[in-house]
Symmetry: C2
Subunit: 240 residues, 2 copies
DNA sequence: TGTACATCAGTGAACGCGCGTTCACTGATGTAC
DNA sequence: TGTACATCAGTGAACGCGCGTTCACTGATGTAC
């Protein structure tokens, strides 16, 4: 009969670490990030609040873990959806990514608020821990954009009036984001349009998740329209 | 010699009501909406916390007042900027509105978070008090859009693939928002594009105000680019 | 103009609740010989 | 395999702090006659 591969303690620890994150995530949805409380989590686990400090260094560190976990889940979802589309169908790769982002956000509204909502007062996410996971979707979109450019499909609408400062910002962002990507085909104009496409996607989801939409509209269909508008910022309209 | 027109009490009350809102607004910036505390405000005023209840019904009511005041200030700023542009220059009216929105947001980051950030847990804004002030900028943009349409300038990019559900949502929103506006020229396509233009404006400001931008970019120039992208959603590119 | 009464502003104590974090400690699990 | 010691998990009390809201109350301002 198989003995427990690695002790009862290790098993318990794993179970508890997972339970803490699960409960924390639910509390997040009930009281928001600012109200997240270690004591409340301990209470629900039926243990003394001090015991939590065996698993979590502090309240802020727990928040950081939640953020990283959420960014990872979002990145996974987006990449999975995008990977399922044939490489050649670049428009559809963009749309699939956008749909995956919305689906994740709608399914995890409070995690969404944590990632894209107003900042938690008194808490500053440590960039070195959150940035790698936090930029995965942007990278994904950037790769799609590069492919579009390579195929000659991409056309940013307002190539005309781009100021030198905006151009410089685009270059800086490309430099910062694009180390691992072939950015040869990405003009500053296109990159700026890509940034706003991404901004519009995020906002389209936030608008729904944060309840700024009222109950009038069919949120999913509205987002489909938003997706197309975002796409129109970076790509020429397809032949009808 | 003029006697005080209306008693020392009325004067004090006015002063205090204003002071409470001023202090509350500052606290908002230090601890966020979720941390806003009547006791802290009373402490700063040097009075007993119970005394505040002579001026404010409850913490939530104070939040509501802050929201209405902020929406009003934003609406004022946007309308003032737009009114300064010659009626005929419809593009510039749009751009001026967008710039005013950003300027207000950057100058009042925490009020911005209150209006457009993630919702405050446990607090639901009473729509009957916040909606009238909260929709003024949308109305303004809608009037501009109607003028564009009237002049034949407006062209929504993806008239092609609009689903019946999206079309219905657009109609419902037009019905809801557009009672006081001549919506004759506003097609559903155009209205949907207008919604996303507005969404993009808000998000362009939030992106900066919430610090999602890093320190790489020139935020103002980036927003100029965003403004043009938003405009491109509703209007054909101008002749060069 | 002077007085009696009503209104209002502000007090301070209290109720009942919450939080993060530290610390000395017990008792169980794991490990080396 | 058995024992001695080290590690780890969890306890419970404590520190020092916060909050919203209610209530009976004093003393000042305003008003009617």
């Amino acid at each position: 009969m198989g003995k427990p591969a690695r002790g009862i303690r290790a098993e318990n620890r794993e179970r508890l670490e997972a339970a803490i994150l699960t409960i924390a995530r639910r509390h997040l949805g009930e009281v928001g990030a600012a109200g997240l409380s270690l004591r409340a989590i301990a209470r629900e686990l039926g243990m003394a609040s001090s015991a939590l400090y065996r698993y979590v260094a502090s309240r802020d560190e727990l928040l950081t873990r939640l953020i990283v976990e959420s960014f990872t889940a979002l990145g996974d979802a987006a990449e999975r959806a995008e990977a399922a589309v044939p490489r050649g169908d670049v428009r559809e790769r963009f749309l699939a990514t956008g749909r995956a982002v919305r689906e994740w956000g709608v399914a995890h509204p409070f995690d969404w608020a944590l990632l894209f909502g107003s900042p938690v007062p008194g808490y500053a996410a440590p960039g070195d821990r959150t940035t790698p996971a936090g930029t995965r979707v942007q990278f994904l979109l950037l790769r799609i954009l590069a492919d579009m450019a390579h195929l000659g499909m991409a056309t940013a609408p307002n190539a005309d009036g781009i100021s030198p400062a905006a151009r410089a910002s685009a270059a800086a962002i490309a430099d910062d984001l694009g180390r691992e990507i072939d950015t040869a085909d990405l003009t500053p104009e296109l990159l700026l349009a890509g940034i706003d496409a991404w901004t519009l996607l995020i906002a389209g989801v936030s608008r729904e998740v944060f309840g700024h939409l009222g109950e009038i509209a069919d949120a999913e269909e509205l987002y489909e329209s938003t997706l197309r508008h975002a796409l129109s910022l970076v790509v020429a309209a397809p032949a009808p």
